[in-house]
Symmetry: C2
Amino acid sequence: MASVRKTATKLADGRDFFYFDDSEPYVSGQATRRLDDPRPLADRFAPVPGPDGTETPFTGPIMRYDVLTGDWIPMAAHRMNRTFMPPADANPFAPAREGAEYQDGEIPDTDYDVVVFENRFASLMQVPGVPDKVRYLDNNHLFPERPAAGRCEVICFGPRLDENLVSMGPKRMRTVIEAWVDRTRELSQMPGIEQVFVFENHGEAIGVSLHHPHGQIYAYPYITPYTEKMMRQAKAYRQSHGKNLLSAVLEAELESGERIVAQSEHWVLYVPSAARWPVEMHLAPKRQVPDLPSLTEEEKADLSEFYLKMLRAGNKFHVAADGSPVDLPYVAGWHQAPREAQLDLRLHLQLISIQRSPDKLKYLAGSESGMFAWISDTTPERIAARLREVWED
Amino acid sequence: MASVRKTATKLADGRDFFYFDDSEPYVSGQATRRLDDPRPLADRFAPVPGPDGTETPFTGPIMRYDVLTGDWIPMAAHRMNRTFMPPADANPFAPAREGAEYQDGEIPDTDYDVVVFENRFASLMQVPGVPDKVRYLDNNHLFPERPAAGRCEVICFGPRLDENLVSMGPKRMRTVIEAWVDRTRELSQMPGIEQVFVFENHGEAIGVSLHHPHGQIYAYPYITPYTEKMMRQAKAYRQSHGKNLLSAVLEAELESGERIVAQSEHWVLYVPSAARWPVEMHLAPKRQVPDLPSLTEEEKADLSEFYLKMLRAGNKFHVAADGSPVDLPYVAGWHQAPREAQLDLRLHLQLISIQRSPDKLKYLAGSESGMFAWISDTTPERIAARLREVWED
């Protein structure tokens, strides 16, 4: 590991909290400076009071099986009231105030480099004592439901609200990568976890409610529909062609060159031949690996530079009428192979944006929302050409 | 058919245009009043001029096969410049101006009831002389592409910008239903069409760019991902249980009653047990039919009243802080059985909304956009209870 020190602690309501320190003297979270978390946070697992004074045991979020599509749908009804766009002075991801006797946000220290903690408003949650079993709503076989027994974590990329991955630079990016690796490794070993998704939502246009630079990690207790589709395609491809599908795609893209945006020593950035979003990039290591923990030190070091170049190019993609660049709203997510598809799937990041032009967004309307049938307003070759145009090495 | 008269004509660029008249003297589109369409619209199929003075034949939109997911992605690059939020006096769906010598919008008459015409900015298009064949981009088997040889139609529900389906009432709704039936019947018989999707996008929040009351009809040259999922589930259910999946679901919902919103003589409105959107309703005929053309006169007459009650309930779902109702942004789309799934699939409408609360929207961020894994912030039972509360017979 690069010089990153991990320290584990707990928040007042029992949630796990991890410091990933990259700067001397690596003190955040140490007993000498750590603040207690005496916030009156409700016990996450406390019984739920009913209108008639009775209490029902808290069983956590559930998920329903959508028999029409075959998808599991977690229902996080308790998230309805989550924090939304608080004023800057109520930023829950800011470090605790210097000199304060206790923290008033999520962070139990007055400074940090990178921290990861369980989401307070988690839509996936493992509740002690609640068995991960299917039961049938209305006793009907068509209505299966199960605890949404996964885990949602937040990763703060740095202590300051006015910074972001690009401004913080490669050293911090490297720490973020180490945190991604660590969380993927630990979460994928938790019982009941089928798949770990490391992602970042960036920009108000896609609904980001807290502007502090942060990402998220979802550990799903099921295989997501996108991954299921990829697994089906990759398995069929292995059966017919005897090789890994994404490796074949990468070779084909490199041979064509048409949609390659840039390469580093260990990584390739390209626009997929069937890009469905106004801006879409796939970032893959040149070596076939299933997930983030499989990356070598060299690959991670290289990624910490290359990832930021990718983000910089994204921010130059659109230029406003007055010549100023448009901070690209995006979702960047790592596709990692679940346990049962270690050979068929292959690590890659997908960065997508709904920004169609400097002042227009793509909306997911009838075709996309109703039929899951994406229609692109551009072509992958145009996207790639524009990205090459603004690329800076 | 109810007293609806259909008249077919063509627009200046050769697009099909259909009047559906429901009011005496059924004259719209008649030779005596019809205006020519002398707008200088470019021939839709004209060769495309290149930068060096040469011309390439227009081959229409293409679609690429996304080998990672198995989805076809149409690429309507020419739609990038489509009309977006024109001022009210440039409404292209308004009737031609009385006394004008020629039309300046899409409508070749000074009045109409309901009209349907091919979308000027179509993402799916059949171009004469272009064979519907797969070719391989870069000569690579991983990059198949095909003409996006489908059809996109627009349906205007009435002549006035300030009206909507609810305000126009059941008689007009009935005409809209007849137009849906007619277009489904004709489009599903066109060569190469796999599936007809009749839908309405409503509200700026989901990106509606023209406020004139209208819907859309997509005739896809492929089976959409949502329908494919339903076909897979329904086939498996028929094999294991010997019956139609949606029929079984409907029986189970009626037996439970928990999520039933309302019933009419021929229709049932319910919230599905795994609703994934903040507001979601499914509307199904009580009789098992594959598509809109299979409905009886009685079922259509009943629907023309019941559909509007459904929309009215949607508009009362959220109430703003000042007590005023929130005009619900929604996508309402008809799931119809493709040819090869007439027995397995069953007609139903899905109405979905991203409006989480009077002032909050659901965004499709990391989990939904990156993994196609929806997470609901509420429960189907809450949605159903609220809809029953505001329902008015």
